[in-house]
């Protein structure tokens, strides 16, 4: 066991993993955070806790991860390279581990121009792949990035993100390979809508032996409306939403569009469950946490295994 986290144990036991996501509040509204977490409790194996997502300041991800832990949901502590240099990152990794956080997801982070402080100096001292290598070195070699020794190494199950849909498509699988060789134990992908491309990418990962080295969790975000689908299609860089999805949502009619979105998500989950090389699902129900129990139920993800 690398960290002994529940997520690691689930994957090691060969269960199909199911993770969710919680966005911390823009303030100290712990009640709102607890409310979001309550919907995930018992329905996911771990919940990603986002780190100033979309470059907007929020309650810090390690603090929200602690609240998550106290509320009985295992956190997957997200860390971006935008806001901290290597000293602050390593300090927070030690702190998180000391408090019992056992999973983390290493990300570059959205550029600060998108957020609420576009004038901020982006740190980007290291990139996401270098961060993965740093965490692995801390955990496995008890060594800081500088090489200096650590007095009791942090225990972390190390995650990385992958976007199978961004160009150049041919390079994506090699970048995934780099992330895995840098230290990723599990991968969570960008939201999948183009199943053809996702199939092709998973096949490439299998062919290169990557799915034996790291666990692939495919990203799913149910569409709530045609507007959301259009926005994802045209405004979110690196996101691919096929016209067929939009057509399906539109044809469902205004009353049933959210239902249709959940239906699509469940179909995708079903297909991934049977796809060789896929180890789980990462459900990003953005500001829709209260629908997670229903989606989990309908997708056949319940009950979650006890390990």
């Amino acid at each position: 066991m690398k960290s002994g986290s529940k997520l690691e144990r689930i994957l090691q036991a060969g269960h199909f993993a199911f993770t969710g996501e919680v966005g911390p509040p823009r303030g100290c509204n712990v009640q709102a955070l607890k409310e979001k977490i309550s919907h995930l409790k018992g329905h996911v194996d771990a919940a990603n806790v986002t780190d100033n997502q979309t470059a907007v300041v929020r309650l810090s991800s390690w603090a929200a991860s602690l609240i998550c832990l106290q509320e009985g949901v295992e956190p997957n502590f997200q860390m971006v390279c935008r806001d901290r240099n290597r000293l602050a990152m390593q300090a927070d990794i030690l702190g998180a581990s000391a408090h019992g956080i056992r999973n983390m997801l290493c990300l570059s982070g959205d550029h600060q121009v998108f957020g609420d402080h576009p004038q901020a100096k982006g740190v980007f001292d290291i990139d996401s792949i270098q961060l993965l290598a740093m965490v692995k070195g801390m955990r496995d070699d008890s060594a800081f990035q500088s090489g200096g020794g650590i007095d009791e190494a942090p225990k972390m199950f190390i995650g990385a993100a992958a976007n199978p849909f961004a160009e150049p498509f041919e390079w994506r699988i090699h970048r995934l390979a780099k992330k895995i060789s840098a230290g990723a134990d599990f991968i969570q992908t960008q939201c999948v809508y183009n199943m053809d491309k996702a199939r092709e990418w998973v096949k490439q990962a299998n062919d290169l032996g990557l799915t034996e080295k790291a666990s692939l969790l495919m990203g799913i975000t149910p569409m709530k409306s045609v507007g959301m689908a259009r926005y994802m299609q045209s405004k979110v860089p690196g996101m691919e939403v096929p016209e067929a999805i939009i057509r399906r949502l539109r044809e469902a009619g205004k009353q049933n569009v959210a239902e249709e979105g959940i239906k699509i998500a469940c179909e995708q989950i079903q297909e991934f469950k049977e796809m060789p090389g896929v180890a789980g699902i990462h459900l990003m129900a953005i500001e829709w946490e209260h629908r997670v129990p229903e989606i989990a139920e309908r997708a056949g993800m319940l009950p979650r295994p006890e390990v």
Partner: protein
């Protein structure tokens, strides 16, 4: 070369308000090429300040030196500078500082914002290409600097935010890592970015002094004499 942009007139006027005789000092090198602070721009600024009612009553004159980042050229101003009660430098930040050091009894103000190290794409169009990080990785990245031209300065890109061939921050901003990939693929050199680029050794985090071997040889030869 160094790229700079002239500051807005109101900001420049706020610096020189209250001074009676001001010398606008142009610089004949980088800032002249990028049309920000050469002799022509120094004359234009002098005229603008002279004609503006906001700075009426003060006298503005201009003089352009070959380079302000070199004491040898600054010495040309030694006698003339004493006639002015303020100097307005149109050089880059390095030039302004050396001018202020040379004439430390006279207030020296900057008239440009120093932007970057860049290239001249066309007259009046310049692009940033180098951030002087001190650890050049261009050999690995097909001659395209990821520190400068990737908005996140990634060493192992492209990130998932790449937008077909452009950067997530703006459709007009090309994705540096996409260009790196394409050029390396065309040269059949992709193998070199398969390896993980380790965390960078940032050498631009403290003031740097660069001493070339020739300097050492010259000074030790002088000492022996």
């Amino acid at each position: 070369m160094i790229i700079a942009e002239r500051k807005p007139i109101p900001e420049i006027q706020s610096f020189v308000a209250g001074y009676h005789k001001v010398l606008v000092v142009g610089c004949g090198t980088c800032v002249a090429v990028c049309l920000a602070g050469g002799s022509k721009e120094a004359e234009i600024l002098t005229n603008e300040l002279t004609l503006s009612p906001k700075t009426a009553g003060a006298r503005f004159e201009s003089r352009t030196l070959e380079r302000q980042c070199d004491m040898e050229f600054l010495s040309e101003l030694d006698e003339q500078a004493a006639e002015y009660d303020a100097l307005l430098s149109m050089a880059c930040g390095a030039g302004v500082q050396l001018l202020a050091e040379r004439f430390s009894r006279i207030p020296v103000f900057p008239a440009v914002n120093t932007s970057c190290i860049g290239v001249n794409r066309s007259v009046g169009w310049y692009e940033e290409n180098c951030r002087a990080c001190g650890t050049c990785v261009l050999a690995l990245t097909a001659g395209i600097c990821p520190v400068t031209r990737c908005a996140k300065g990634l060493f192992n890109g492209p990130c998932g935010g790449t937008n077909i061939t452009s950067c997530e921050i703006h459709p007009d901003q090309p994705c540096a890592w996409h260009m790196i990939y394409e050029r390396l693929a065309a040269q059949d050199r992709l193998q070199q970015i398969m390896e993980i680029s380790p965390a960078n050794d940032w050498r631009n985090q403290q003031p740097r002094t660069i001493v070339q071997p020739g300097y050492e040889e010259r000074t030790s030869a002088l000492k022996e004499q």
